[in-house]
């Protein structure tokens, strides 16, 4: 992935008050441990994305003394009353992956999950999204094409560009209205062989 594209992505994310980190796969656990200290995280919600598991987020968090909640079918009843949603709402950090991210705007496409995990990227104060470098595309149109390449385009999805914001009061910018107050994107460099 060209350095120029990643630089563009970094600028686009900075413009929407989101941060970009580039972390080698083998360093991720250590990096995450430092972050949860920095961010005072006591509870984290994890999505069931493959990459999140591959990076060993669960173990790293537990080792750092963070309580981890992961969505599963077992939480009932359904909907807002679900205890899973309540747990995610209490977490300071939510970690997901994404289908891809657009360099032009900093937009990530969070695809639908069989187990509804939208709460992970929506309710906690911080949202951390991990992606491989190869998942960076040019623009939003390219994101939709990528989705189409994976199969039939169905399910509830969301495109996210930075932290939740409003300027409804005197046009002064405030972050963290209903969604996360902070969004961080980690691009995982290919593992050294």
């Amino acid at each position: 992935m060209s350095g120029e594209v990643i630089a563009r992505l970094e600028r686009a994310l900075a413009d929407v008050d989101a941060a970009l980190y580039r972390v080698a796969q083998e360093n991720f656990a250590g990096w995450l441990t430092d972050r949860v200290k920095e961010w005072s995280v006591h509870r984290a919600a994890l999505s069931r994305d493959l990459l999140v598991a591959e990076l060993g987020a669960d173990r790293a968090l537990r080792n750092a003394g963070v309580q981890v909640v992961t969505a599963s079918h077992e939480h009932e009843p359904k909907g807002a009353a679900s205890s899973w949603v309540a747990e995610a709402a209490d977490a300071e950090l939510g970690i997901t992956s994404a289908l891809g991210i657009a360099a032009e705007t900093g937009t990530m496409l969070l695809p639908p999950h069989e187990v509804e995990e939208r709460a992970v990227s929506l309710l906690p104060v911080r949202h951390l999204c991990v992606l491989r470098e190869g998942q960076v595309v040019e623009d939003v149109a390219a994101l939709f094409r990528l989705w189409g390449e994976r199969g039939p385009v169905r399910g509830n999805a969301v495109l996210v560009t930075g932290p939740s914001r409003t300027a409804d009061i005197e046009k002064e910018l405030v972050l963290g209205v209903h969604g996360p107050q902070a969004v961080d994107v980690v691009l995982v460099a290919p593992q050294e062989d």
Partner: protein, 461 residues
């Protein structure tokens, strides 16, 4: 449409707004200029902005011309996706349908994402009457709801208020300690509304676009309330204007970014929610309903002079660019849609009897058409509406008589020269000598000799 502020008295409302001005800067002037600066900055990032705009215009127009076919495809997708479809011919039907869904779901409150259409069909009042509490969740909408007044702008509903207004409001209505810090005020709203999100049995969102190729219902927000409202409650109702269909996700990508750049000067809104249907799993709706509302749109589509107004993507850029809106803000317009788009949509959906001043409250400067991402020719439509407005006037109407006299005078050179010589002005409708003109303006004096008398050359054969 919402009747909180009557539409009939636009002229009077404008005068009142001007008279009520204080000394300080006008919020609508300040905020529209900020939005315009943002729009210019981000439009400039696309060197081929005009080409993309032309493409978006074309795609919107094609969609309008193929609306029935697109709706047929949508219905197929929705059936596959498990979305329940309801057709509402008008506002009353839409309210009935939504109340029906709410009653069957047995809910006591509905959390709402921002929806102009919701305003148009006056759904909040209907819900309240039925003993169901509507809770606005967009911060600006929440604020004006607490104040009991309508929004004053399509994308910045509370832009007529300042931080002290909001601070006092929250202190009075929510019982919190007074603060005027926007960040603190936002946190108060976040806490208060999150409780409502998690407790609500039903959520209602406005649909920015329905995508025919997949059936997705796209909702756009910056705050995240759209996601909250469409993914947390058990029952979700998507409210959609009949014309808000686009064919492909590729269209959506372009329209979404044009909307963001034109409305608030962002490259993209923070959230673009794509609701597909009911979702399995612990969170996510059991039921997804879409209510497709006509309320006059089909009729507008058949109106040769006005149909292009249905291309509108509700960005509000025309409001920001309008010299009239910049002076008086949104409330004087009454109804749901203020600004230039409102001056056409109001008469189109409500009729000119309800909106007699709308077509005339414009200098026809064209700034709206210039900034519109889908190139709606609003000034041309206003001119057509003016014609329709005066068509009803009878033979004894003073204004009509004046113009008939004008035509008569201007049809003959001698009559013209005698009248202008005598009248020192034209037909009594000329600024010189008309009361409205001399508001802070010196009146021009007619020249001693008109041009025609000074210029010595050949005359017409």
């Amino acid at each position: 449409m919402s009747r909180a502020y009557p539409t009939k008295t636009l002229k009077r409302a404008i005068r009142r707004s001007l008279a009520a001005r204080g000394e300080g800067p006008l919020p609508w002037k300040v905020n529209t200029l900020k939005a315009l600066a943002g729009r210019d900055r981000h439009a400039a990032e696309w060197p081929d902005f005009e080409r993309r705009r032309a493409h978006a215009t074309e795609r919107r127009q094609e969609a309008l011309e193929n609306l029935d076919a697109l709706h047929a495809r949508l219905r197929e997708r929705w059936a596959e996706n498990g979305v329940t479809v309801h057709e509402a011919a008008d506002a009353a039907a839409a309210r009935e349908i939504i109340l029906g869904i709410a009653r069957r779901a047995g809910v006591s409150s509905v959390v709402k994402g921002k929806s102009m259409l919701g305003e148009e069909i006056a759904i909040n009042a209907a819900l309240e009457e039925a003993g169901i509490e509507p809770v606005e969740t967009d911060l600006g909408e929440y604020i004006v709801q607490l104040r009991g007044e309508p929004p004053s702008h399509i994308t910045m509903p509370g832009m007529h208020l300042d931080r002290r207004d909001v601070g006092r409001l929250f202190a009075d209505e929510l019982g919190v300690e007074y603060t005027e810090n926007p960040s603190e005020l936002t946190q108060i709203a976040r806490r208060t509304l999150r409780e409502r999100f998690l407790a609500a049995g039903m959520g209602m969102v406005g649909v920015n676009f329905a995508v025919a190729e997949t059936g997705h219902l796209a909702t756009v927000t910056n705050e995240g309330n759209g996601r909250m409202v469409s993914s947390l409650p058990r029952v979700v109702v998507a409210l959609m204007g009949w014309e808000r269909v686009t064919e492909t996700l590729d269209d959506l990508a372009l329209l979404w970014q044009l909307l963001a750049r034109s409305a608030t000067g962002q490259r993209a809104t923070v959230y673009l929610n794509l609701t597909h249907g009911p979702a399995p799993g612990p969170a996510g709706p059991d039921e997804v309903h879409v209510v497709v509302v006509d309320n006059g749109r089909r009729r507008v589509r058949e109106d040769g002079e006005l149909s292009e107004v249905l291309r509108c993507i509700r960005c509000g850029a025309c409001l920001n660019a309008c010299p009239v809106y910049q002076q008086v803000g949104g409330h004087p317009y009454g109804g749901t849609y203020p600004g230039p788009i409102g001056k056409v949509v109001g008469p189109a959906l409500l009729g000119l009897e309800e909106t007699p001043d709308h077509p005339f409250a414009s200098t026809l400067c064209g700034a709206c058409e210039e900034i519109c991402p889908v190139s709606i020719p609003l000034p041309k439509m206003l001119l057509a509406l003016r014609r329709r407005q005066v068509e009803g006037r009878g033979v004894f109407d003073l204004e009509r008589t004046g113009w008939v006299a004008f035509r008569h005078t201007a049809s003959d050179r001698r009559r013209w020269e005698v009248t202008t010589l005598l009248g020192r002005g034209i037909a009594g409708l000329w600024p010189a000598g008309v009361p409205g003109w001399s508001v802070r303006r010196a009146t021009p004096s007619p020249a001693k000799q008109p041009f025609r008398a000074r210029f010595r050359d050949e005359e017409a054969e």
